[in-house]
């Protein structure tokens, strides 16, 4: 169970296979993501990404061409990313006709280690809008306080 930090999507006028290559091939990833990418799109593969002087290890999780790709990173941390210390970035590609693809990305936070399933579900239900929305609500509540 991950906690959603951000979720964004875009409609692309290209088949899912083309979008897939753009998001998973290192020579393409350097064009939209990091300055240096050393990564093989295989489940469990360990790699790295660098942004100028910053960067660190990345671990690939799901590789299901051409619809799902996810990796874990704890940018800008140097430790090996695991469920407890990292963010999970997940891409979902949904073909809409032959030449159009909806690309969704989400970045989510740490796992809920010590909650029961019922509690996790209740928390997820409470925060379906995502963390950004949640923070907005917090900020509004705060503004209303005397």
């Amino acid at each position: 169970m991950e906690s959603l930090m951000v979720e964004r999507e875009i409609l692309i006028e290209a088949p899912a296979e083309v979008v897939w290559r753009t998001i998973t091939e290192p020579d393409q990833m350097v064009l939209w993501f990091a300055d240096r990418v050393d990564l093989v799109a295989e489940p469990g593969a360990h790699g790295s990404m660098h942004f100028g002087e910053h960067g660190g290890p990345v671990v690939v999780e799901i590789v299901d061409p051409p619809t799902r790709f996810s990796f874990r990173w704890n940018h800008p941390g140097e430790e090996e990313p695991t469920a407890g210390n990292s963010m999970l970035v997940e891409f979902t590609l949904t073909p809409e006709g032959e030449e159009r693809t909806r690309l969704r990305v989400s970045e989510s936070g740490h796992e809920l280690h010590h909650w029961s399933d019922v509690e996790k579900q209740r928390y997820a239900d409470d925060h379906r809008g995502g963390w950004a929305t949640h923070l907005d609500r917090l900020a509004n509540l705060l503004a209303e306080r005397p």
């Binding site: 692309i12 083309v18 900020a139």
Partner: protein, 131 residues
Amino acid sequence: MSMTLQSDEELFSAIADPSRRRVLDLLVSNGAASAWRLADHVPFSRQAVSKHLVVLDEAGLVSRRKQGREVLYQVDPDRLHQATRAMADLAAQWDRRLNAIKRLAEAAHAESRNQAAIPREPESLSTKERT
């Protein structure tokens, strides 16, 4: 610049944990409270609440004061606002990346379509035609 980056990172890791956000949420809706009071409203122990409060305190999201024998925690509005902005920045960053992916994928697709539509002429022939 690097100071700002550092404090953003601290802020981010503080709010990345849902349990800590739950604690923050409670502090926002109920005002100042002690770790004991907060523990009544969360599905984890007072020790866990205290640990979360330490992290939130280090990130500047809550401040603490003594009242009698109790230590009360409350949310720092400026820092919370900063956290909200950090989340908006994260969304904007992904929007930029998605737009770059869109441009790259659409250009690659257009290129492969053109190549399929116009079969490449032999090098010698096209050179001859140009001269």
